[in-house]
């Protein structure tokens, strides 16, 4: 009787064979293979150019794709260039292949061509996974059950054999169980020993010790407590000092960080305007009101620039976005007027495709790009009509607006 592993393997093999009509006894040789369907030639025909196909395959090809051989592109006429190849047909019909369900008991051997039609009505036909295992398998029942009904009858008929198997198993297990119990009880005895109170000899000796020793002990312990309390107080004080120091360092680091970002942003500044609606309201009511970004640098020792927004003085429906050159300690070492590209991007909070962007180049003749004579060059450069104010709503997220200004000297 086949073991279950074998059965599983056979089922898989069978499935593979069902798909391929391949068989170990008659492997598909290339001379029996149709170049179109890649399976056994069925009603083989020979073309005038010497190639064999299934009749159905080559006719379908010629009907669909015109008039040449799929192998060598020679012109073919369905009426005059195809000949039934009875020789090959006879050779294939003499090949013998096992039914793929052989492993389930089918003993039939057929020509590969006939296997397909046989498989559909084979008595042993089944799919992988259709078999059921006997619940007593784990205790040694090795019967293979094919269906639920069979399982029922199997269980009814094999009760006595199943019982015998259980008995044998129990007989094997009992001696093991008893030996386990024995080892268990001996370890428990050991444990009890550990938990036993100390032998009487020790008890006697403690009683022999005089009481004044205890007072001595309490005194020493008390002294130690005092010392430890003192140390503890000192440590608490030093810890709180350290914490204060740390928080002051943190603040200065944060400040330096902000400075660092502006200095090392390489001309790319992300300007986040919080509570933007309020700012917009202020700019609309007072058209002279402007908001400036902090000054940022095109490189650590480069040009210092800030961005500015305000409501356009020409057309109050628009928001202006501009930049100012700022005075920095490096100005004397730089080239003037400033020459480079400037891009303004109004960042859409969700979809960068909808960003509003404009890139432009500096114009050296403009006053705005000359060396600043005071903290901020009064002349600005950019778009006075950058975006319609009414379009701004979709660019706000939690009442903040993000602008990206990028300035690159050439």
């Amino acid at each position: 009787m086949a073991s279950f592993n074998d059965l599983n393997k056979h089922c898989k093999d069978a499935e593979r064979n069902v798909a391929n009509t391949e068989n170990n006894k008659a492997d598909l040789e290339s001379r029996f293979e149709c170049p179109i369907c890649l399976t056994w030639l069925r009603d083989p025909v020979l073309t005038s150019c010497g190639h064999k196909f299934c009749a159905q395959c080559i006719n379908m090809w010629l009907r669909k794709k015109g008039t040449c051989c799929p192998v060598d592109s020679q012109p073919l006429q369905p009426e005059s260039d195809l000949f039934p190849d009875l020789f090959t047909r006879r050779e294939i019909s003499q090949q013998r292949a096992h039914c793929p369900y052989q492993k389930f008991g089918c003993a039939i051997e057929l020509s590969p061509i006939d296997i397909d039609s046989h498989m559909n009505k084979c008595d042993f036909r089944r799919q992988v996974g259709e078999h059921v295992s006997c619940p007593f398998k784990s205790i040694g029942c090795s019967d293979i059950i094919i269906s639920e009904e069979e399982l029922k009858t199997h269980l009814e008929h094999s009760t006595s054999s199943h019982l015998t198997e259980i008995l044998q198993l129990v007989a094997k297990v009992i001696p093991k169980l008893t030996s386990l119990e024995q080892t268990g009880s001996s370890t428990r005895a050991m444990e009890y020993k550990w938990w036993d109170p100390p032998p009487k000899k020790n008890l006697l000796s403690t009683q022999d010790e005089p009481c004044p020793d205890w007072q001595e002990l309490v005194k020493t312990l008390y002294e130690r407590i005092v010392v430890l309390e003192q140390q503890n107080r000192e440590l608490t004080i030093s810890l709180s000092n350290q914490q204060n120091h740390l928080s002051s360092i943190r603040t200065s680091v944060r400040y330096n960080d902000e400075e660092m970002i502006l200095r090392y942003c390489n001309g790319l500044y992300i300007w986040k305007l919080d509570s933007f609606r309020e700012k917009l309201e202020i700019m609309i009511t007072d058209s002279l009101k402007m908001f400036y970004s902090p000054g940022f640098y095109t490189s650590p020792n480069g040009y210092k620039i800030c961005a500015r927004i305000n409501v356009s003085s020409k057309d109050p429906r628009y928001l202006s976005l501009l930049i100012h050159m700022m005075h920095s300690e490096n100005d004397d070492a730089l080239d003037w007027p400033f020459n480079g590209s400037i891009s303004f991007v109004l960042v859409h909070p969700v979809d960068s495709e909808r960003n509003i962007r404009d890139t432009t180049f500096s114009k050296p003749e403009l006053e705005a790009f000359k060396k600043p004579t005071c903290e901020l060059n009064k002349r600005s450069f950019g778009y006075t009509e950058f975006v319609l104010i009414k379009d701004l709503v979709e660019f706000l997220r939690e009442d903040s607006m993000i602008m990206r200004v990028e300035v690159k000297p050439i």
Partner: protein, 205 residues
């Protein structure tokens, strides 16, 4: 019909896996779904071409009427080649169109594509820009194709001068691939590529 298509693909799949080209890592096929209607192919760039050292991934879609109609194949890996669209990866190859024959298989298709990489047909182009460069500036074409192979197909060549030009454009805020396409299309003339890119940006606004 669908049955014969799936059955044939299963067999061809085995044929490719067993073939000596796979052993040499020249071609590869993987299944994308269980129904055998979509596969992923891979071909190695042929030696002594700008594609050498690259691995090119292909999308293969098997129609229900296969093998009476050709499989639909396109390049997933971006490639610079006169007969392959640099945008969509669409391939202009006769056997994938009117010269298809039912006796052809996945293996022969992949090998034909590999042959196409070795021998372009600029007179029957899929990408006119690439074909023009191929005919008029063959050395420029070779450099560009090599560069694309290194960027998109894992090719070995590193070309710092071309990378520098791309960086010049990305520094101006141009997306890297767009910069590469513009430069490749204008024979790596930075000025013309910039001009073309900024005109597009303005047109978008």
């Amino acid at each position: 019909m669908a049955n014969i298509a799936a059955q044939r693909i299963k067999r061809e799949f085995k044929e490719v896996i067993k073939s000596e080209e796979v052993a040499k890592c020249a071609i590869k096929v993987e299944l994308v779904n269980d129904s055998f209607t979509e596969l992923k192919g891979e071909i190695a760039g042929p030696p002594d071409t700008p594609y050498e050292g690259g691995n090119f991934v292909l999308e293969i879609k098997v129609p229900e009427t296969y093998p009476f109609n050709p499989p639909k194949v396109r390049f997933i890996t971006k490639i610079w080649h006169p007969n392959i669209s640099s945008v969509t990866g669409a391939i202009c190859l006769d056997i994938l169109k009117d010269q298809w024959a039912a006796a052809m298989t996945l293996r022969t298709v992949l090998l034909s594509l590999q042959a196409l990489l070795s021998a372009a047909e600029p007179d029957d182009p899929q990408d006119a820009v690439v074909a023009k460069q191929y005919k008029e500036q063959p050395e420029m074409f070779r450099q560009t194709a090599k560069h694309w192979t290194s960027v998109y197909a894992g090719g070995p060549a590193k070309m710092s001068d071309l990378d520098d030009k791309i960086r010049r454009l990305t520094d101006m805020g141009i997306e890297e691939h767009n910069a590469r396409v513009a430069l490749s299309s204008y024979n790596w003339d930075l000025e013309r590529a910039t001009e073309q890119l900024f005109m597009t940006v303005m047109a978008k606004n």
